[in-house]
């Protein structure tokens, strides 16, 4: 079997950090295992925008990507690297559940690790990101409380 991969979903929160820590310890135990750190910027192509928003969109997107790298992804990647684990960092726009699943599938990952975000109200009713991820994932999902 080829090298094992764990995909970790980050959201810049405490729970995300716990998920990352868990993935690191798992990777170490497995031995020959790489970690793919994934940060998704929530975005949908089916929203209604103003003309100015459209005009500025490309600029905003670049800023969002840069910020995601600076604040969340790059620190996480260097953190994993420091542990001597092979790591890859991904930032994408879209629906977090869809993208985590897609990344895991493409990399042939053997599990996805995400932190549990306390969701209230409507989001809980309709199932937040973690709920939809569990419902649709093709690989095992570990949720870190």
């Amino acid at each position: 079997m080829s090298k094992a991969t764990i995909v970790v979903g980050l959201d810049g929160s405490e729970a995300g950090a716990r998920a990352l820590a868990f993935a690191q310890s798992q990777a170490k135990q497995i031995g020959d295992c790489s970690v793919t750190v994934c940060y998704v910027i929530e975005w949908s192509p089916f929203t209604f925008q103003t003309k100015e928003e459209n005009e500025q969109r490309h600029k905003r997107r670049e800023e969002e990507l840069q910020r995601a790298h600076e604040v969340v992804l790059d620190p996480a990647v260097s953190d994993v690297q420091a542990q001597g684990i092979e790591v890859e960092g991904i930032v994408r726009h879209g629906d977090a559940a869809d993208i985590l699943e897609e990344v895991a599938k493409k990399r042939g990952a053997h599990q996805i690790v995400v932190g549990r975000v306390g969701e209230r109200g409507l989001k809980r009713l309709f199932g937040g990101v973690t709920g939809r991820l569990v419902a649709g994932s093709s690989v095992p999902v570990t949720i870190i409380p």
């Binding site: 192509p45 925008q49 459209n54 969109r57 997107r61």
Partner: protein, 515 residues
């Protein structure tokens, strides 16, 4: 923001006494009208002049002939490419690596919010009451052909837009006229672009602003009872200024989100009314088809129906005016043709779907008086249209037709009209601004000057009944179409080349589906 607002309110305050005085004495009102009529009347008469021996204005023919030429030249792209357009909007061909950029759906929705509005509600009522139900048929025909015009202008809009180092974009006819003409070695590109920009600024202040403010006030006063127009004007201007200059983006966002739902709700209510009266739909279509070729008692008969249909379609979907090309150019696609495909859905949604709904409901409701013996419509000589229930026309006629089914509808329609007018004004402030910056260059101060002028015109539009001024601005809107369509004729070979290359790569499998 506060400073800006103070400047604006001061400007408003300085204008108010004049307006109030104008309303009381009507002296200033009349003087402005007179000055405008004297200096611009000849131009307005020229633009709306009928073809010799008919009452068919040549400008409507200009738009329809243009649409026909593009339809033939691109091999009925609106039929052949319809399904591909829908696939593009669904995102089937969107590269996942481009996620986060403006999607085709977003560009379409944004452009539609500028066109779906009073034209679909008031314009259709005018067309049907003057041209009879048959006008609907010709409106749909004009809408179907107009799809090819939108395809052409929006492809060019994306192809020749300006991209600035900081990543923002500016596009539209003024950019494709200058760049496209110099690319083809044609003269006068710069001159035509400047001309187009001037027409756009004046059209934005008139049809895209004063007319909207005026109609919004008329609808509010109709439902709530009469009150001075400047109150509506100042409130609308204040909110608009806060949005376009003050960075109160939240209002713009809320509007952009409510307006599409208003549009969808309007269509749903229409469908509901049609379902309730399902047994009359066949009859209504019969009236539309018969009226299209006989007139059914309408003065002018068959041509009367045709003229009204063509005119209102042009007013409603703006195909050929060039405004949509400005809105669509924000999309960051490697293939300009894809944006053309998406844009051709606009006249379909606006005219073929929404306008037809309004027309069917008006016909079915029976607000148009018909002679039961002959089946012909009764002509009101004095008003120059079919006699209607309650003797109303425009928005009020649509309102009356829908009220037959749902008594609460006029209140909903009032909210819809004000919101549609507001979103059309925001859209046109953007189009006007793009023309302004094309002429004077980009810069915060220069842009602010235009925004202040724009908002002052809202107050004027709502407060005064400046007929000649509004006629003039309508003429400007159509002047945009003269310059734009001439340019499209010269530039259509470029679009053809883009289209052929795109279709070839689509067939060869070089362009792949991502979903």
């Amino acid at each position: 923001m506060n400073k800006l607002f103070t400047i604006f309110m001061a400007a408003c305050a300085s204008l108010l006494p004049g307006l109030a005085a104008a309303q009381e004495a009507t002296g200033l009102d009349e003087r402005i009208n007179q000055i405008f009529a004297d200096y611009t009347g000849w131009y307005v008469s020229f633009i709306f002049a009928p073809l010799p021996g008919t009452n068919f204005s040549w400008i409507a023919l200009w738009l329809v002939v243009g649409a026909l030429v593009f339809t033939v030249y691109f091999g009925a792209i609106q039929l052949k490419g319809f399904w591909h357009s829908i696939q593009l909007v669904r995102g089937d061909y969107s590269d996942p690596n481009d996620a986060g950029e403006v999607s085709h759906f977003q560009a379409l929705a944004t452009a539609l919010s500028g066109t779906v509005g009073l034209g679909n509600i008031a314009g259709v009522a005018v067309a049907v009451s003057i041209g009879g139900p048959g006008a609907t048929f010709w409106m749909v025909v004009a809408g179907l052909f107009g799809m090819a015009t939108k395809f052409t202008e929006c492809t060019l809009g994306v192809k020749y837009r300006n991209e600035y180092p900081d990543g923002h974009v500016s596009g539209g006819p003024m950019y494709y006229i200058t760049k496209g003409f110099s690319e083809r070695g044609l003269p006068l590109g710069g001159f035509m672009a400047v001309l187009f920009s001037i027409f756009t600024i004046l059209g934005a202040l008139g049809g895209g602003n004063m007319f909207q403010a005026n109609q919004a006030h008329a609808q509010l006063a109709g439902v709530l009872g009469d009150y001075p127009g400047w109150i509506t004007g100042v409130v609308l201007a204040g909110v608009t200024f806060a949005v376009i200059a003050g960075g109160l983006k939240s209002i713009a966002r809320v509007t952009e989100k409510i307006v599409p739902f208003m549009g969808i709700f309007y269509v749903l209510v229409s469908i509901l009314i049609l379902l309730i009266n399902w047994d009359m739909i066949g009859w209504a279509f019969g009236q539309i088809f018969m009226g299209a070729f006989t007139g059914l008692g309408v003065v002018g008969g068959f041509t009367g129906a045709l003229i009204q249909g063509f005119r209102r379609a042009a007013f409603s979907n703006e195909a050929g005016i060039g405004s949509a090309a400005i809105a669509h150019s924000a999309v960051r696609t490697k293939e300009p043709v894809t944006e053309g495909y998406v844009a051709l859905l606009e006249p379909f949604i606006d005219t073929v779907v929404i306008c037809t709904m309004t027309a069917l409901v008006i016909v079915i409701s029976g607000v148009l008086n018909q002679d039961p013996a002959t089946g012909l419509y009764i002509w009101n000589e004095e008003a120059g249209r079919i006699a209607t229930e309650g003797d109303v026309s425009g928005v009020a006629l649509t309102s009356a037709a829908y009220a037959r089914a749902f008594s609460w509808f006029p209140i909903l329609l009032m909210v819809a009209v004000v919101l549609f007018a507001f979103s059309t004004m925001i859209s046109w402030s953007y189009y006007g601004l793009k023309a302004w910056t094309y002429l004077f260059g980009e810069g915060a101060m220069k842009e602010l000057v235009f925004k202040i002028i724009f908002c002052l015109f809202i107050v004027i539009g709502a407060a005064a009944s400046l007929g000649p001024v509004i006629d003039f601005s309508d003429a400007m809107l159509f002047s945009m179409a003269i310059v734009n369509i001439i340019a499209l004729y010269f530039l259509m070979p470029i679009v053809k080349r883009e289209l052929n290359s795109y279709v070839a790569r689509l067939r060869s499998g070089e362009i792949v589906k991502h979903k």
